[in-house]
């Protein structure tokens, strides 16, 4: 879609849209890089405050995935004129609560009238240029670590049809409103080689980009991948969003899945996530340290695979 656009080059643009990364990175000086990202979407849950929190958690995540700290945010809001103002207020309050939790500040924004509500933010963050973590630096032998369980796309599809218990709904909302801040802080000291966050392309879609970026193949251990149990049950029941099937069309040819991997696990690996966790490629020798730092920070995480030699396909899913 972007291929026809003119490419403006600037030697200080460290990460642009050539590498399908999470955010753009611009070197301001040898000591400072600016990270910029924008994301917005229609409501994924009915409650406006929670929706605002989810949209902000998701937008802020791209800065964390690049190894940065969010500093400044601007709201992007579209809403129909019939929407009560207190609903609009609740969306913005939800967003502001997460920006504040991130230690950043909302400095303004822009709203337009539209038939369907949409909310998100443009977020600017900082990092040392040497601390930038792209999605393309993984090296053979690296361990792949995932934070946050998968399944939010399937769970939100079920929530729309009121198929979740209040407890299951809370678990889903909890995943989508947990900032990747603590995770990113645990990653910072371990000299990770690459990092990305899991969002709309699903785990396998984002890992495909990571594999393409480093020219190696990634091996995944299906049963080690954290998945919300209810999402597996729903996948077996065929409650899977269209986005998961689009991801399969997009990435399926690059995936070699062992026949023993249960279909419902594979389905969840394609499930589009909102405000998903981070996938980190860490040198194997630092893997245990990363997992222990994440655990100390209260961030659920697991080693889910490794970077291997370039094989027939970019991604190999083993049981």
């Amino acid at each position: 879609m972007l291929s026809g656009l003119p490419r403006n080059s600037d030697p200080n643009l460290m990460v642009g849209f050539d590498s399908s990364d999470d955010a753009a990175v611009y070197r301001i000086s040898d000591e400072l890089a600016m990270i910029q990202t924008v994301d917005f979407f229609p409501p994924v849950v009915d409650d406006p405050y929670t929706f605002g929190q989810i949209a902000a958690t998701n937008a802020l995540s791209d800065v964390y995935a690049m190894g940065g700290t969010p500093k400044l945010a601007m709201n992007l809001l579209a809403f129909p004129s019939c929407l009560p103002l207190d609903v609009v207020g609740a969306i913005l309050e939800g967003g502001a609560s997460k920006v504040t939790e991130a230690g950043a500040v909302i400095a303004g924004g822009h709203s337009i009238e539209d038939q369907e509500p949409k909310y998100g933010l443009c977020v600017t963050g900082y990092a040392h240029p040497k601390a930038i973590l792209t999605n393309s630096g993984a090296r053979e032998g690296d361990l792949l670590v995932l934070t946050k369980a998968l399944g939010t796309g399937i769970l939100s599809t079920a929530a729309k049809a009121e198929l979740l218990t209040p407890e299951e709904y809370r678990e889903m909302a909890g995943l989508m409103t947990t900032l990747n801040r603590a995770a990113a802080e645990a990653v910072a000291p371990v000299e990770a080689h690459a990092c990305t966050d899991v969002t709309g392309f699903g785990l396998l879609g984002h890992l495909k980009e990571m594999a393409e970026g480093c020219g190696s193949s990634l091996e995944l251990w299906a049963r080690a991948i954290p998945i919300v149990p209810k999402a597996l049950e729903l996948a077996r029941d065929g409650i899977i969003p269209g986005g998961a099937y689009r991801n399969m069309d997009f990435v399926g040819d690059d995936v070699q899945a062992d026949g023993a991997v249960p279909q419902e696990i594979l389905d969840v690996l394609y499930d589009p996530q909102t405000a998903g966790g981070l996938v980190i490629a860490v040198p194997e020798a630092r893997g245990a340290e990363l997992l222990s730092r994440l655990s100390d920070a209260g961030v659920p995480a697991a080693a889910i695979g490794r970077v291997g030699p370039r094989g027939e396909r970019l991604l190999r899913v083993k049981p």
């Binding site: 599809t157 079920a158 729309k160 049809a161 198929l163 996948a235 077996r236 029941d237 065929g238 409650i239 899977i240 969003p241 269209g242 099937y245 279909q263 389905d267």
Partner: protein, 68 residues
């Protein structure tokens, strides 16, 4: 044969309609859908519930699914 028309509904409605129809009307059941997503979802649901599933394209993004 029992038939339901789930065309025009977006997921997860077609699966829920199928589930309900299987319970109330029984099988064999024919379900009409108008995109790949409900086709895949209904196939997964029915197979995992122990039914036999056959489907065919009726052309132009329309599918007929027979559950028996």
């Amino acid at each position: 044969m029992n038939q339901i028309d789930a065309r025009g509904y977006s997921c997860p409605e077609p699966v829920l309609m199928t589930k309900k129809a299987l319970k109330e009307l029984g099988k064999p059941l024919t379900v009409l859908v108008d995109s790949e997503t409900p086709l895949q979802n209904i196939t997964r649901f029915a197979r995992n519930s122990g039914h036999t599933v056959a489907s065919r394209s009726l052309g132009d993004e329309e599918y007929e699914i027979v559950i028996s």
